[in-house]
């Protein structure tokens, strides 16, 4: 007999996150480092954390939720696995119990993450079906997209302020900070570059492609045009996901 009820936890997580103290607050902080790779936004900001509870013996119970029952299980797995890792490492936590709720692959993902089985092993023999590849490549692909999208967020304001293509093509990260300040967008771009193994010191070039190569002035207009398309894609996708989550959970 198939169980059709679900476990919806309605409402926004913002109040719970703000009110938390002690170990619970540290778990919320840890969850802010877990991001949806597709949207390049953390799971707390996205309201994907349904609940956090830390028991007296330090076991952290975290439930995650997604905008739809059919959100891609590969991304879901990455988020649950990442949450498991960072919550386990939070000070005061003796054990992490992270579960995904209201999703068609909840059982396979939760069991697999708890057993640290990897994506392929977790999906094997389940109703969800067989998976043929681990997710490292997927994560890298989306970090590369985040680099492109982030390039748009950082460079477009500079050019609106009057920077020429020649100046942008030759600019270092340090010069960009001097011109526009250390914005969140710039900090995030540097983080994504580090994750991809691309140098991101002050003396390194501001505009690079996802392999770390500099982009010459001739190729710059098309590169920036594409960077903008990536950013528009992320924005559009995020807005649809937020809308779906709001409809599903009343946030």
């Amino acid at each position: 007999m198939t169980v059709l009820s679900d476990t919806r936890v309605l409402g926004s997580n913002a109040d719970a996150a703000a009110a938390a103290t002690g170990t619970t607050a540290r778990v919320w902080e840890a969850l802010r480092t877990v991001r949806d790779p597709e949207l390049d936004t953390d799971v707390v900001s996205l309201d994907f954390v349904a609940a956090v509870e830390v028991s007296d013996d330090g076991v952290a119970h975290v439930s995650l939720r997604l905008p739809t029952y059919f959100c891609a299980p590969n991304f879901a797995f990455l988020m649950v696995a990442d949450a498991h890792d960072v919550v386990s490492a939070a000070a005061g936590v003796s054990r992490a119990d992270v579960v995904l709720i209201d999703h068609f692959a909840s059982d396979a993902i939760n069991t697999g993450v708890a057993a640290r089985a990897g994506f392929v092993n977790s999906m094997a023999g389940t109703e969800v079906g067989e998976a043929v590849a681990e997710l490292d490549e997927l994560r890298r692909t989306f970090t590369e997209r985040a680099l492109m999208a982030g390039t748009d967020l950082v460079v477009r304001p500079l050019m609106r302020e009057g920077a020429t293509p020649e100046q942008v093509a030759a600019m270092t990260l340090g010069e960009a900070v001097a011109l526009s300040g250390a914005s969140d967008d710039l900090r995030r771009l540097r983080t994504r570059r580090r994750e991809l193994g691309i140098p991101s010191d002050d003396t390194d070039p501001l505009v690079v492609d996802p392999t770390g190569r500099t982009v010459g002035v001739d190729a710059l207009p098309l590169h920036l045009r594409k960077a903008r398309s990536y950013q528009v894609g992320v924005d559009a996708n995020t807005s649809i996901c937020r809308g779906q989550l709001a409809a599903r959970y009343g946030v």
């Binding site: 059709l4 739809t68 067989e130 043929v132 649809i240």
Partner: protein, 352 residues
């Protein structure tokens, strides 16, 4: 037909459905998927204006009378292209089959065009079924779901050799337009089901077919754009783009439109309401009224004028489907409405 400020717009809704997702049609043992699917669709509807929201019961199964009213009486639609979605793993009689849509065509042949479908994983039996459907319904198009489950398989690619056999046969049988779902709400397992590189390969190989990418590859609009700009026979199907963004997120909608107009162009964009997820009326009226919001974010995007809106709302699809357009609704001094690439494809088909 929709008239505003003295301009008349011929409207082709090139992507609509007539589904039955009521509990009576759920496959025993797969109820959670059948239920999850239609609830997921229903959540999409929430992105449209509040006064157009339906109850889940109505949304699960609506009547033929609802379709006729929502599309043709209220929705300004002249001709609708019914697209099938089988999902027989979850829905006993299918979610929205060729036969079910065919009820509409039989009764209102001037109002509808019917598309069929195939699934290359169904092999010879699938090929025979496809041929029977083409024989019976004489469709000009087919709708494919590359991420649909089928037995143990969780998806296929247009570039798979088995799929090429079907595309070859489709072309021989007079199919011209392949609509491919590349968009949200389908569940890639570990293959990236939104990846459009398979469309790129197929479009290069099958120059006699047009490929309409429904939902423009959302959430990977950029990959779709970079591909479509290089392939003359690839089109942007605007279903979900209008319904999901125009009302809920107008600024993001404007950017997506800007990207599509820049990379793909107004000659290769087609309106689709995705009914019954969203009713066409507010989408048609909204697009006719639409312009970029104030602000420098939109400065370098191509503008969309009345002619462009006429193409997107109906004339481009009319061209793809040989739908006759009354003289007064054609562009002034320019009867072939859609672009040269489409004409070229049609000519090549005619000569083949």
């Amino acid at each position: 037909m929709y008239e505003k400020n003295g301009e008349k717009y011929f409207v082709v809704d090139s992507h609509m459905h007539y589904w039955d997702a009521s509990p009576e049609n759920w496959v025993a043992g797969a109820e959670q998927y059948a239920k999850g699917w239609i609830e997921c669709f229903h959540a999409y509807q929430s992105l449209g204006p509040a006064e157009t929201h339906w109850s889940i019961e109505h949304f699960q199964k609506y009547s033929e009378a609802d379709v006729m009213k929502d599309l043709f009486e209220d929705g300004h639609v002249d001709v609708a292209i019914a697209q099938p979605t089988y999902l027989k793993e979850w829905y006993t009689e299918g979610f929205n089959t060729t036969e079910r849509n065919g009820q509409l065509l039989r009764k209102y042949p001037e109002k509808f065009r019917l598309n069929t479908r195939f699934d290359p994983r169904d092999g010879e039996a699938g090929m025979r079924e496809f041929e029977r459907n083409v024989e019976e319904w004489k469709p000009l198009g087919a709708k494919l779901y590359t991420a649909e489950w089928n037995g143990d398989s969780r998806g296929f690619k247009l570039s798979d050799p088995e799929c090429y056999k079907f595309l070859e046969r489709a072309q021989e049988l007079g199919i011209r337009n392949i609509h491919i779902h590349k968009g949200p709400t389908i569940w890639p397992l570990d293959k990236d089901a939104f990846d459009v590189s398979d469309v790129d390969k197929a479009a290069t190989t099958f120059q006699g077919l047009n490929f309409v990418v429904e939902h423009v590859g959302l959430p990977r609009i950029e990959d779709f754009c970079f591909m479509a700009t290089q392939e003359p026979n690839v089109y942007a199907g605007l279903s979900v783009v209008l319904g999901g963004l125009m009302h809920a997120r107008p600024r993001f909608f404007a950017k997506v439109m800007g990207e599509l107009l820049f990379w793909v162009g107004e000659d290769k964009m087609t309106f689709g309401s995705d009914y019954a997820i969203w009713e066409p009326r507010w989408q048609v009226e909204g697009l006719v009224d639409w312009d970029y919001p104030e602000g420098h974010d939109y400065d370098d995007y191509p503008r969309l004028g009345v002619e462009g809106k006429k193409k997107i709302l109906g004339l481009n699809a009319a061209k793809l489907y040989d739908i006759p357009v009354p003289e007064e609704l054609q562009l002034k001094g320019d009867s072939p409405a859609a672009q040269d690439d489409a004409e070229l494809v049609n000519r090549e088909v005619a000569q083949a």
